[in-house]
């Protein structure tokens, strides 16, 4: 369960302060597939960073499971991310110098998994996601869809509680995007994985059981910005 209470985040850009989030309350239950939607500049990236424990709120609280993220140190956040959260990014964010297999291995390395176990698990996951034959290729040798599958394998490899996908189809053609979304939906459906999608694409949000709209740093109704 993820719970934000009155969470605010302000960025200091030189002399001006930019309030990216101003008092957000939201709750995501285990096993939900939730979409967070909002136009660019709405604060949805900031919200995603908070949910992903990549950042902390200046005010208010953010609770992940039992842990209050807003009160934790850098190492604890790293541990939380490593063990409980899997990230899928718009631009895949695979490390270019590592092969698909090595990219999938990486999160397990930080959890102290032995190399043998890492290789087995990484290969299995790549296989399951339909890119088993691409394991020894570098990201640049893979198509966009393949890269995103590798990235999803990487996100799943430590058996996270939450899969956080930031515009997962943004760099993919519509057909591939659809396949990826079906994959994520299937993970939610079959494995009960909590999935949070951050997107501005209604076609993506359609997969969600619930959509949270964010506008001007606040949670609101879709109408708030669709009417703009």
């Amino acid at each position: 369960m993820i719970k934000l209470e009155n969470a605010a985040r302000t960025y200091h850009m030189g002399k001006t302060d930019v309030a990216a989030l101003r008092g957000v309350d939201l709750k995501i239950e285990d096993g939900e597939l939730v979409a967070i939607m909002g136009p660019s500049g709405s604060g949805k990236s900031t919200l995603m960073h908070l949910i992903g424990a990549l950042d902390q709120p200046d005010e208010g609280s953010m609770v992940f499971g039992e842990q209050d993220v807003s009160k934790q140190g850098r190492n604890q956040l790293a541990e939380l991310r490593g063990k409980h959260i899997g990230f899928v990014f718009q631009s895949f964010n695979l490390i270019a110098t590592l092969t698909a297999l090595e990219n999938v291995e990486l999160p397990m390395m930080y959890q102290g998994v032995t190399r043998k176990d890492r290789l087995t698990k990484a290969r299995n996951l790549l296989e399951q996601l339909g890119v088993g034959n691409r394991a020894d290729h570098l990201p640049t040798e893979l198509s966009g869809g393949e890269q995103q599958r590798v990235a999803i394998a990487r996100a799943l490899v430590n058996d996270p509680d939450l899969l956080l996908a930031d515009e997962p189809t943004g760099n993919l053609d519509s057909k591939t995007g659809k396949q990826i979304m079906e994959l994520l939906a299937k993970l939610n459906e079959e494995q009960g994985m909590t999935v949070v999608l951050v997107t501005h694409d209604p076609a993506v949000a359609r997969y969600a059981q619930r959509t949270i709209h964010i506008f001007d740093g606040k949670v609101g109704q879709a109408a708030d910005w669709e009417e703009e």
Partner: protein, 420 residues
């Protein structure tokens, strides 16, 4: 985790092959210079040490210094005379040495230039005659390069008016064992002829061996008159006595007697020369260390560039669970590896340079006035130097990488991920 980090670090180094090699080259140059200079320096010191060891560290040489020139007596002058130079024989109380507890044995020699007449030579000439106290060539065998007799025999206490010839002078005079040779107006008989002095017998050995006419001290005294006149004495100190302490006691003793002496020991001399060599070595090494420092700056530069280039990767690593210390370790290991590889190759290069340079320097690296030019020289590589250099270059690499690694570790994941 460490193994994984090393694997990742190697991967990153190999990925940027050209830049890595250039960075490593910077370390190689510095390490090679340091290793070459230290090993050549150590080799020089070993070579000097070996030259002094010929005579042994428990031997003190004593040369009378006349009261009038005592003030201006420079050690260098005394040094020259001790190894076969001419010293006007001076009367001193030798027996008193026997009473010093620090002294195990002693012997003296007196060098005179005498008119030599030999039938074979068919005329007369002036040559150096050296009077030796009884048993001196045995007691200080090393100083006389073993006093190797090839024909005839050594002095015995019963012999009177007998003569042992250096190899060179024997062949110049054309005399053999049993032949008569006249020194001034006294007839002597040749009882022995020495082997030619070993050309490798360098260091602190008597250099007049080939050209000297050696006679018992009492025979020389009978010819030239005057008792207890010596050119120099050799003193063997007793076990457990400090050479410097003994030297000072001897000098004080003779100053009190009104016949001041200069002393010189292998220890004093080698210390003095070692001191100079050590100073030169340290100065050169310090200069070489500057090259190493520049190499270290090269590593730092490379690592900063690398952190910048991989900002996004750092963000990814952090997003998937890397802690600050994981990122820090990765970059430290990377720069440490650059250091180790540079250090290892630098050591090889340094060893190569110093063995080539050592060969070229061998002829000129001898102690002037002490050793023969043939004394061998080889650069010396102590395990400490090799291991120390490896450890140092790894540390240098890691140290140079410390600031960049810290920067990488402190990157905030959100900002790192956003970096294009």
């Amino acid at each position: 985790m460490l193994r994984d980090n090393i694997r990742l670090a190697l991967h990153n180094i190999l990925h940027r092959r050209v830049r890595s090699w250039l960075t490593i080259l910077g370390i190689i140059v510095g390490v090679a210079a340091v290793v070459a200079l230290i090993s050549i320096g150590d080799g020089m010191r070993n070579s000097v040490q070996a030259q002094f060891e010929d005579i042994g560290y428990s031997t003190i040489m004593l040369v009378p210094s006349g009261p009038e020139d005592q003030a201006k007596e420079a050690k260098a002058g005394a040094m020259g005379r001790m190894f076969g130079g001419n010293q006007e024989p001076t009367e001193i109380n030798l027996d008193i040495l026997g009473r010093l507890p620090q002294i195990a044995s002693y012997g003296a020699m007196r060098v005179e230039t005498a008119m030599i007449t030999s039938e074979h030579m068919g005329g007369q000439g002036f040559l150096r005659v050296i009077g030796l106290t009884d048993g001196m060539t045995d007691a200080f065998n090393a100083y006389f390069s073993g006093f190797p007799i090839v024909q005839g025999h050594e002095f015995t206490p019963e012999d009177a008016d007998v003569l042992i010839l250096g190899n060179q002078v024997a062949s110049d005079l054309g005399v053999n064992v049993g032949d008569p040779v006249q020194i001034e107006n006294t007839a002597f008989t040749v009882i022995g002829i020495l082997a030619a002095r070993d050309t490798k017998a360098g260091a602190m050995t008597f250099r007049g061996l080939d050209t000297g006419l050696f006679v018992p001290m009492r025979d020389l005294e009978a010819v030239f008159g005057g008792e207890n006149k010596i050119s120099q004495a050799l003193i063997e100190i007793s076990d457990g006595t400090d050479v410097i302490v003994a030297s000072n006691a001897i000098k004080a003793l003779y100053t009190d007697l009104g016949t001041p002496v200069s002393t010189m020991s292998a220890e004093e001399m080698s210390q003095r020369i070692m001191g100079v060599l050590g100073g030169i070595q340290r100065a050169l090494t310090a200069i070489a260390a500057i090259a190493l420092l520049v190499g270290g700056i090269g590593v730092m530069n490379t690592m900063y560039t690398s952190v910048l280039e991989r900002t996004r990767d750092i963000g990814i690593m952090k997003a998937v669970g890397a802690k600050d210390r994981d990122v820090m370790a990765l970059f430290l290991i990377e720069s440490g590896l650059l250091g180790i590889v540079g250090g290892g190759l630098g050591i090889l290069a340094g060893v190569g340079i110093s063995s080539v340079a050592g060969g070229m320097l061998a002829g000129s690296l001898v102690v002037p006035g002490v050793a023969d030019t043939t004394t061998s020289f080889a650069a010396s590589y102590s395990p400490l130097l090799i291991i120390g250099t490896l450890v140092f270059s790894a540390l240098l690499g890691a140290l140079a990488g410390a600031l960049p690694a810290r920067r990488a570790a402190k990157l905030r994941p959100v900002e790192a991920l956003r970096y294009e």
